[in-house]
Amino acid sequence: MTAWVGTVERTRAGIWLFFVSEVFLFGALLGMRFNLWGNTRPDLDQRLGLLVTAILLASSFFMYLAESAVAHGRRVVFLLSTLVTASLGIAFLVGVVGFEWSGHLQPTDGVYGSVFFAMTGLHALHVASGVLFIAYIGIKGLRGRYTSAEHFGVEACAIYWHFIDVVWVFLYPALYLMGTAVQA
């Protein structure tokens, strides 16, 4: 009746505004990191940090593969790629929550532990929700709900996943690389 822009365009605009808002959510935490840690950082497991970062970056490649596969109607590639993406996401969570969180640095260890757990915790919540989102599109794909023309759910999931990945690209150096390591 009115000049409707398609639902997809509207939802896409809404999602991007949501990302803008998320940038400020994480940005405030980054501000806290630079304020409280200054030119120092806690002594963390560098190999683990590099490994989980590589895993998350690799997962974005498979997410992209899943999205282009569904656009070309290649169902098997789509399903396999979502499976790989979700598995890499879970591997990232195991690395951060399972191993790094049970290291020597704990949330009650002053500003180093507090900021580290706040930042990785908020990010891990996003990764976990992203894995659930991937599982959701995987199940819908398994039931054949997506076509090469209509698969906005996959697109939304993919840009959310890439966004989480980009956030980590900023968190990783702030937590693991910048400044000199001190024993917390």
């Binding site: 009746m1 009115t2 000049a3 409707w4 822009v5 365009e9 509207r10 939802t11 605009a13 809404g14 505004l17 949501f18 803008v20 808002s21 998320e22 400020f24 959510l25 940005g27 405030a28 935490l29 501000g31 806290m32 304020n35 409280l36 949330p107 009650t108 002053g110 500003v111 532990g113 507090s114 900021v115 757990f117 706040a118």
Partner: protein, 536 residues
């Protein structure tokens, strides 16, 4: 009518629909307006408790009770009345003003409202756990030592902030994508421009408040360290995070009000708005500048003088776009055929009171003055001039102006005028003497004060009583006119914006024939008063 799966009952068919998860923007608008008005009454009663305590220099109430009263007064007024009541007007009016059937995301919209109710419940229920008593600013480390209610307070603010952010995204996408054919950005009603600027600030600033509140909760319940200097934390970082949101929040509360005023003034002046583009652009300028001034709340924290100067300059610059608006409103009335109905009286009252609040704001933005009056009653006087004299007067005016559209009934003009005059007299008696108290050195947020301030404080309390009495004819008018008022026509003010071009109240789906826009929102060709226009 929209056909969202699972939401068959869509729109208001009876009063019980207002208590459901309804996705119709008009139902949600009324839900917001009525519930936030109830929160206004609650916080207003708390203000009377505060003014009762301050009748006497010695403490009458327990000091903790007093602290909890002003904390809850400020928090509820800001988070549960002024900010969300604007979302109420925006929900009701924006789809109508732009010729749409509904908001862009109707289910998200309903979720925003119910989250607001949940957040309000969480904040108010904190009273039973030992209430938050640190003021609405909750400065650390004081807020780390406050009773358990402070934790619920912070969680409630997070929930309300989430609701607010979802609303902001919804308004932006709605205005961006659902405008009727011909409704270019240059023909957008100025309230919509105000909400664009407001929503941008909401989307960018609210998450920072969310982070601050989440860290406060973690520090209080999980033994973490962010703000307590004792553990290596930084109390000032609370102030930075808090004001990074809360100064923009000042504009989140005033820009929609300025939009409401810009709708009312041309209608009752029977003239095109003066300087349409300047008003729209100044809203956007304030939205951008509003992010660059937050540290002026922290001039006395020992910051570097060069930083002080920078924030002083940015704060003063805000006065320029604000002044542009004031002169444009005066230009709109200039030479017009003024019709002094209740909404117009409140709009003119807004301009006068807001100018005073703006000027006291400029003095506070000046470092040397602020050093002397920081945390004094001068600040309390200033903030009430902009928030009550500004935002709330505009809200009252808007309630009267759109009452016929929303309810389909006319309000009582005499009761409306009684409300206005009681409000202006009570308001001035309440808040103007606060400037004197502050200049003489009376600190804010204290339960006991020096005896020489007693007479002025009693005058202030008398004003508060008159202000409260003024609310009674308003409530009576709203309730009785809604149930027994005279039938309102679809366009009782002969206004040109789209919401008046459909029936009162509008049908589900808003417009029987799709509107096509061919002219601007305020193209009043000749100076006809509404009465004359009706006689034609």
């Amino acid at each position: 009518m929209s056909t969202h799966r699972g939401f068959v009952r869509h729109g208001a068919h009876g009063w019980s629909d207002y208590f459901t998860f309804n996705t119709d923007h008009k139902v949600i608008g009324v839900q917001y307006l009525v519930s936030t008005l109830l929160f206004f009454l609650y916080a207003g009663l708390l203000a009377l408790v505060i003014r009762f305590e301050l009748l006497d220099p010695a403490p009458t109430l327990n000091a903790n009770t007093y602290n909890a009263a002003f904390t809850l007064h400020g928090s509820v007024m800001i988070f549960l009345f002024v900010i969300p009541v604007m979302a109420g007007f925006a929900n009701y009016l924006i789809p109508l003003m732009i010729g749409a059937n509904d908001m862009a995301f109707p289910r998200l919209n309903a979720l925003s409202f119910w989250l607001l109710m949940l957040g309000g419940l969480v904040i108010v229920s904190g009273n039973f756990l030992g209430p938050a008593d640190t003021g609405w600013t909750a400065y650390a480390p004081l807020s780390l030592q406050a009773p358990d209610g402070q934790t619920l307070w912070a969680i409630g603010v997070i929930i309300i902030g989430t609701s607010s952010t979802m609303g902001g995204i919804n308004f932006l996408v709605t205005i961006g994508t659902l405008r009727a054919p011909g409704l270019t950005l240059g023909r957008l009603p100025l309230f919509c421009w105000g909400m664009i600027a407001t929503s941008l600030m909401v989307v960018l600033a609210t998450p920072v408040l969310t982070t601050a509140m989440a860290l406060l909760v973690l520090e209080r319940v999980a033994g973490m360290t962010f703000f307590a200097a004792a553990g290596g934390g930084d109390p000032l970082s609370w102030q930075n995070l808090f004001w990074f949101y809360s100064h923009p929040a000042v504009y989140i509360m005033i820009l929609p009000a300025m939009g409401l005023i810009s709708e009312i003034l041309p209608v009752f002046s029977r003239k095109p708005i003066f300087g349409y583009r300047a008003i729209a652009a100044s809203s956007m300028a304030i939205a951008i500048l509003g992010f660059l001034v937050w540290a002026h709340h922290m001039f006395t924290t020992g910051m570097d003088p060069s930083v002080q100067t920078a924030f002083m300059v940015t704060s003063m610059i805000i006065a320029v776009p604000t002044g542009v608006k004031i002169f444009n409103w005066i230009g709109t009335m200039w030479g017009g055929v003024l019709d002094l109905r209740t909404p117009m009286l409140f709009a003119i009252g807004f301009i006068g009171m807001f100018v005073i609040g703006g000027l006291s704001g400029i003095t506070l933005g000046s470092v040397p003055v602020d050093t002397h009056v920081h945390d004094s009653y001068y600040v309390v006087g200033h903030l009430h001039y902009v928030l009550f004299g500004g935002s709330v007067l505009a809200i009252f005016g808007a309630f009267y102006f759109w009452f016929p559209k929303i309810t389909g009934k006319m309000y009582d003009e005499r009761l409306g005028k009684l409300h206005f005059w009681l409000t202006i007299v009570g308001f001035t008696l309440t808040f103007f003497p606060m400037h004197w108290l502050g200049l003489q050195g009376m600190p804010r947020r204290v339960v006991a004060y020096a005896e020489q301030f007693q007479q002025t404080n009693q005058l202030v309390s008398l004003g508060a009583l008159i202000l409260a009495l003024g609310v009674l004819p308003f409530l009576y008018n709203m309730i009785v006119s809604w149930t027994r008022g005279a039938q309102a026509s679809s366009n009782p003010w002969s206004a040109l914006t789209l919401e008046w071009q459909t029936s009162s109240p509008p049908p589900i789906g808003n417009f029987d024939t799709p509107p096509v826009v061919t002219n601007g929102p305020y193209d009043y060709g000749e100076s006809l008063s509404p009465r004359e226009a009706a006689a034609d």
